[in-house]
């Protein structure tokens, strides 16, 4: 397929000697929304990390835009896809400074427009002076929303959302899901236990735990 973004072929994941996932195959074309469901410990996050080059699959392969993962492809994914991890860890210090640093990365120059930032702060019900606060002092829900905000400000159109809304209340979960899902051209790869992501336009894929052995 021409517009294929992410593809797993017979992917298998082991933690130590324990096989947690095997023969996982999935193809995500451009614009598609996929929700990955399954018990925790089934290797879902590792599927994301394998795509980003942070972990290695124990079997099978992962492709990005038709290319098998290699160091070059992993660096490309990191420039083109926005990843929200289970617990966003930006570091310590005022958020303003931490954002400046991200903005200085080569692929992000000229992005992260301040007006859009303020718009999103309102949208996701964050306090106006949040930029002045130290990141490590924020609550779990606030950290999560900062992670979402950053992902949106990078102006990328492929998103890897790993439990991105777990610490938000249901009103906010819905708002976030609405915001992402209204962009029909965005490719979304979602790991979540939140029902707010289960919509008609989202394909649900169940990851079954492989038999031990």
């Amino acid at each position: 397929m021409q517009d294929e973004i992410i593809r797993y072929e017979n992917a298998g994941i082991s933690f130590g000697n324990k096989k947690v996932l095997s023969n996982f195959s999935l193809c995500i074309p451009k614009g598609k929304k996929v929700l990955l469901k399954g018990k925790s410990g089934a290797g879902k996050s590792t599927l994301f990390k394998a795509l980003l080059g942070f972990e290695k699959l124990s079997e099978g392969a992962v492709y990005y835009k038709g290319k098998a993962l290699s160091p070059q492809v992993a660096w490309q994914v990191r420039k083109e896809a926005a990843y929200i991890s289970q617990d966003t860890d930006l570091g310590e210090g005022p958020i303003k400074l931490l954002l400046e640093e991200i903005r200085a990365y080569k692929p992000n120059r000229g992005k992260m427009n301040p007006e859009k930032f303020h718009m999103l702060i309102n949208e996701f019900e964050l306090e106006k002076d949040i930029l002045e606060k130290n990141f490590e002092r924020l609550s779990g829900g606030e950290k999560q929303r900062i992670g979402i905000l950053i992902a949106l400000l990078l102006e990328r159109d492929i998103f890897l959302l790993d439990e991105a809304t777990s610490a938000l209340d249901s009103g906010l979960k819905k708002k976030v899901a609405d915001y992402f899902l209204k962009h029909t051209d965005w490719t979304l790869f979602i790991i979540s236990h939140d029902r707010e992501w289960e919509r008609n336009e989202v394909e649900i894929v169940n990851v079954e735990k492989a038999g031990s052995g």
Partner: protein, 266 residues
Amino acid sequence: MASPDISIPSMILCFLLLSIPLAINYKIKLNLSRRTINSVTRMTVQLALVGVFLTFIFDLNSGILNIAWLLGMVTVASYTTIRNVELQMEKLFLPVILSFTVANLSILLYFNEFVLDLENLLEARFLIPIGGMILGNSLSGNVVGIGEFYADIRRNENRYLYNLSLGASRYEALLPYIRKCLRSALRPTLANIATAGVVFLPGMMTGQILGGASPILAIKYQISIMITIYVSTALSTTFSILSTTQAASDDYGLVKKEIYRKKGKN
């Protein structure tokens, strides 16, 4: 006016002073008597050997031999640095030893050429003691710097990976850690510089005054050596960190797990 000689009986009188800590030790069961005796014996033997060796080296004063002696010190310093930070020797030895050599040797030669204006840059009387001071101090900076750098990355691995996922290059993602560990590495040297002469007279200055130099000459030496030490610590720690990250990370920009030495447990 040179320093008066210390005769052997006088040395014995000095060793006699050790009976005081040993008595305290015995009275309140500090359990340090063995260590005290061991440490003092080690020091005496080591320094006696150095004394003999330096006499020999100073008499010969051969440039090649002096440089070789210095390179020996560099090797020991690099080895000590990596040992103290619990990292794998084989992978990081070369980058650390190169950083130490390039940074410290170039600063040392600059000092000899432009500050001391020596005719013979490799003059043993200057090269070896000043080289020792520079190396000794940059050694502690490197131990703190490299140690904290790798421990911090390991502790905050998620943060590092997250920054990579945001499009940071390897260097950009490492920069916050580099900053933090260089700060820790340089802070003690800066504190030493700022308090020089207030609490105590620095060792080199004391030595020169005892040797009969004027206080003004002694402080000139002290000021320039402290600046040199600060510069060489900053330079060698920066070099070591930058060069070890090359060896310590893979093509994906991840820090290799193998570089961490396994702890004694398991």
